[in-house]
Symmetry: C2
Subunit: 250 residues, 2 copies
């Protein structure tokens, strides 16, 4: 499996409201899972402020390193929505009013299509549109960049519209083994199991619950068969040191 | 106020569990608010995988651009906890077993201080410790970098231990005005109000609730008096175009 082409993506989250702590981002986790289903791995994320240079720098750094780059936030009708301008600047493209986007908004708003609303039809030159089934104002695709809304409900609608349209590889699958233990007690078993089974990554995630210490051990691989085999080995290894494993998540 | 020294910070969130969407980050928003109280502005965030180079590159890019750099994740006892090694490599420092950290762990674990647990006493050479009131294994300060846990409860305890110890400037205050309106209807009023009042930023955050459209307009400034003045102006501007403002958040 290791010779397979691996498809990667990055995300730029745009918005002072995230950096001030006012708004809890909900797009990262949703996008990560959606990408996983498409066989694409989210490899890095940046959160930047509503600032032309900050957005352009992040976009230019990440778009060349990954197959796909997503952005969320800053595509509404107000003065703080500068994502389109920043990405156009990053790509050295002009900003135009996209005729199809204008038609969608004209159809939706009728004679209420004000200048502010028309801002939502602006795209970098040469872009195509991503359908927004929820509130009409479209997302934008330009080169390998997907410009999405900040409001999670809208972004999720746009991702649904993209379902199955992006080329990906084998999805990364996961399987969880758990135990009521301090992770420091099982560190050697985890390390050895990962080392002896190339192609499987094992993450250890401790928790404290009802006064007890436990940990979930998440195995990741593109092979269901390998996941099953290594989960068995890990559970056997835990039992060898006197710890009762749980086959699943705690 | 504009001549005041502005203190900035960045955050590197380390962990495949965030990038896979398995775990929802909760440290960004908490740290952002905590920094705000200290008079420090969180300006950028990166999320990177459990990979030495990815961590080191992010740390080296951000530590020179900001007064403070925080990291969360990857400081436990297991094989996937490589933050200390990556940051030491980024700084060109050796990794040592910190004598004070070793003493804290020895006191806590007694004769159960295994090699795996001793991993949690490793720091870059020349570091100092950040108290962990919850689970003992300390956080680490080296140069302007603060190395914190990934588990939110532990990180919050470490931040409490740092309360009031970092030099900051005037805190950024905020005040919210809201209205049941589409933000596209008020875009001109928002833009004009921000343009006419330097020192105040206005963010517009739309929502849909119970079938109705509304938006919160968040004013940010270091001056309470200016916030009050501009909030009045914004509410007057909204009333001029026939929209009833709410003095507060919806």
């Amino acid at each position: 499996m290791s010779d397979e082409r691996i498809y990667t993506a990055a995300l730029v989250i745009i918005g002072d409201e995230i950096l001030s702590g006012r708004t809890q981002d909900a797009n990262l986790a949703y996008l990560a899972k959606w990408l996983g289903v498409q066989g694409i791995r989210l490899k890095e994320v940046r959160v930047v402020s509503d600032d032309m240079d900050a957005i352009a720098d992040a976009v230019n750094a990440l778009r060349v390193r990954h197959d796909y780059l997503f952005t969320t936030g800053g595509i509404g009708p107000t003065h703080d929505d500068i994502t389109v301008d920043a990405i156009a600047a990053a790509l050295g493209r002009e900003v135009i009013v996209h005729p199809d986007a204008r038609a969608i908004l004209a159809d939706h708003y009728g004679d209420q299509l004000t200048d502010a609303r028309l801002r939502m039809a602006r795209t970098p030159a040469g872009a195509s549109l991503i359908e927004n089934p929820r509130t009409k104002a479209p997302g934008i695709r330009v080169e390998n960049i997907f410009i999405m809304a900040g409001v999670p409900m809208i972004t999720q609608g746009m991702l649904a519209a993209l379902d199955g349209t992006l080329e990906g590889g084998a999805p990364v699958l996961s399987r969880t083994v758990a135990a009521w233990t301090q992770e420091s007690k099982v560190a050697d078993v985890l390390k050895r199991t990962e080392r002896d089974n190339p192609g499987v990554q094992i993450g250890s995630y401790p928790f404290w619950r009802e006064g007890k210490t436990g940990a979930n051990f998440v195995l990741r691989s593109t092979s269901t068969a390998q996941l099953a085999e290594v989960a068995e080995k890990l559970m056997a290894g835990l039992m060898e040191i006197g710890i009762t494993p749980v086959d699943g998540e705690l």
